[in-house]
């Protein structure tokens, strides 16, 4: 059951305030703590990237935020609501949307239908109506077309999603999340597996989205991270090591030691 009450307009988060925050978040697998007491603040209207060496706990943290995993301890607050225990689908209705690290689309359905279904998902239980035509909800088709336009995939609207190039599938992956009209977009390695030529499309898209909504992402590609992020959180061994602007992070010795040193 959906335990979240909708956010009323009066409580909408002001720009600059934290739209998402975690308090003492822990995700333990047996004795191993993949996420070990994380206090993260994601401020409204920012592009916030979480980086860290392999095994730092980024993906585990992401799974807690999306509802894929229940945290072992701590709390997750979104727009003033406690979403720690709410389901993955329940988070969509209040304005959280996610993309997957490994492309996860409705492969055999058309690109447009993928987006229409994603728009319709925001209806939650109202989508259970089985006596009405799908076209009766014109708004979802319009929303799908709007996002198609934005992703520059209009020409490919009728193609099965599985037939798109990998880069286009990654873009569609983000588009699916956009269809939920989220306040916060959670992106799990949006450029993973993308060719060098396709990456700018994705970075432009993210930068553009960052102007309208809050984006939290996990990313490996340092060039992208430094260019698009407003804030960066560096994780190491399940904890937050450093948080700050790209410049601060770039010049931090601890980060160099833990992470950048590896790549440089």
């Amino acid at each position: 059951m959906n335990t979240i009450t909708p956010i009323s307009n009066s409580t909408t988060v002001q720009s600059g305030e934290a739209i998402l925050s975690t308090q003492g978040l822990v995700l333990a697998y047996g004795a191993f703590r993949a996420v070990d007491g994380v206090d993260l603040q994601i401020r409204q209207g920012t592009v916030h990237t979480v980086i860290g060496p392999n095994g730092a706990g980024k993906t585990s943290l992401f799974h807690c935020l999306t509802g894929e995993r229940r945290p072992s301890a701590g709390r997750i607050l979104f727009g003033g609501h406690d979403v720690t225990r709410s389901s993955a689908h329940g988070r969509v209705g209040i304005g959280m949307a996610r993309s997957f690290q490994i492309t996860s689309l409705f492969q055999n359905l058309s690109v447009r239908e993928n987006l229409r279904l994603a728009s319709q998902g925001r209806d939650g239980h109202r989508a259970l109506t089985f006596w009405r035509a799908e076209e009766s909800k014109r708004c979802h088709l319009d929303q799908a077309d709007e996002v198609l336009e934005r992703l520059q995939l209009t020409a490919r609207a009728g193609v099965p999603a599985g037939d798109l190039s990998h880069g286009q599938q990654r873009v569609l992956e983000v588009g699916m999340a956009l269809c939920g009209r989220p306040k916060l977009l959670l992106l799990d390695e949006p450029t993973s597996g993308m060719g060098i030529d396709d990456i700018p499309i994705m970075t432009n898209l993210i930068a553009e989205l960052g102007k309208e909504l809050t984006v939290m992402l996990i990313e490996h590609n340092m060039g992208i991270v430094m260019s698009i992020s407003d804030r960066i959180t560096v994780m190491h061994q399940g904890r937050i090591l450093v948080e700050g602007t790209p410049e601060q992070v770039r010049s931090d010795d601890r980060v160099r030691a833990a992470y950048l040193g590896e790549c440089a």
Binding site: F106, L117, A118, R122, G124, H125, R126, T129, K137, A155
Partner: protein, 340 residues
């Protein structure tokens, strides 16, 4: 090549519905007996309901026999003991079928994949033995005898007597068409399109905001309602509700009809039910082990015709269209040349 395809869907009354209507009208004329045609429509209903789960939601349920048997027993019992009217009995069958399906569904969909299938199997076995044990109600091994076939009546006034097999066919045919049209509506509804999304990628469906359990549960319930109706009609047709209605074998038969006809297409269900029942009718007289052929047919379809019979027909039509499209421009070119 770069045109934007419009997702224009044919109206639920056109296209496929017309083909189904033609089949329903032609069947009693072409088949050796009207009763055979009636049986085909009844099982086509059951296959249709199974298709909603298997073809559209991706759920392989061995519970269909439960709903079929429950429909048969519940309608028969209220007619025998409480003299329920035709529509009264059918309503009871649909209600019971839907309620039991909701119950079985609610427990089974807590698991996915193989565990889901095993749960439906377990329910199927359990309900069979329950029906076997409650022989005071169900007649046990002997089945429930003397099931009436009440006339179509409204407010105590008899409108149409159904004892004649042709009249009963007409009644079943009307119900079938109504359910067929209803099923097309369901499939092209927000709910139906979401079922396909769940079949395609359940994780993604829940990530975009659907509580997939509720969708599966409603699919189960609708499937149970229609299967219960089919069971009741079958009992009325036979004037008898055998124990075999609720056996695992019944679930298998319904599943096989759905798969051979083509899961994921409504006409496929009619085609599947039709071909298997006709095959059985033709071959059972010649060769008592004809079910062996059914196994061969199933293996063939699963290996070579993933879309089932209807999928095969569609592929043929597609190929024929393509060939025509190829021929036409070349014919036009030839004409042009000839003109010059």
């Amino acid at each position: 090549m770069m045109t934007i395809p419009t997702t224009r869907k044919p109206s639920i009354l056109g296209g496929v519905t017309l083909i189904a209507l033609a089949a329903v009208i032609l069947m009693p004329l072409l088949l050796p007996s009207v009763t055979l045609a009636t049986e085909i429509l009844i099982f086509a209903l059951a296959a249709l309901a199974c298709n909603l789960l298997l073809g559209y939601t991706g759920l392989l349920s061995f519970g269909q026999g439960i709903f079929f048997g429950i429909g048969a027993y519940s309608s028969a019992l209220v007619m025998i003991h409480w003299q329920f009217s035709l529509f009264g009995a059918l309503t009871v069958a649909m209600t019971c079928g839907g309620a039991i399906a909701a119950l079985v569904g609610a427990l089974a969909i807590r698991r996915t994949g193989i565990y889901f299938v095993m749960l439906t199997l377990a329910f199927s076995q359990m309900v069979y033995f329950l029906a076997y044990t409650l022989s005071d109600w169900t007649g046990g091994d002997n089945g429930l005898l003397d099931v009436p076939r009440p006339p179509v009546s409204l407010g105590g006034m008899t409108l149409l007597d159904l004892t004649d097999s042709r009249a009963f066919y007409g009644f079943v045919a009307i119900l079938f068409m109504l359910i067929f049209i209803g099923a097309r509506r369901v499939i092209h509804s927000p709910f139906g399109t979401t079922l396909v999304a769940i079949r395609e990628n359940e994780n993604r469906a829940s990530a975009v905001g659907y509580d997939t359990r509720h969708f599966k549960l409603l699919a189960f319930t609708l499937s149970g309602v229609v299967t219960g109706l089919a069971g009741a009609l079958y009992a009325m047709m036979l004037n008898f509700a055998p124990l075999s209605n609720i056996e695992l074998m019944m679930s298998e038969n319904i599943l096989i009809m759905t798969i051979i006809g083509g899961s994921g297409s409504l006409l496929g269900s009619l085609l599947g039910a039709g071909s298997i029942i006709m095959l059985g009718d033709l071959l059972s007289e010649i060769w008592p082990r004809w079910m062996l052929l059914l196994g061969v047919a199933l293996i063939f379809v699963v290996l070579f015709m993933r879309g089932g019979l209807w999928g095969g027909i569609e592929a043929l039509i597609e190929r024929w269209k393509e060939r025509k499209a190829h021929q036409q421009p070349s014919a036009a070119a030839a004409r042009e040349e000839a003109g010059q």
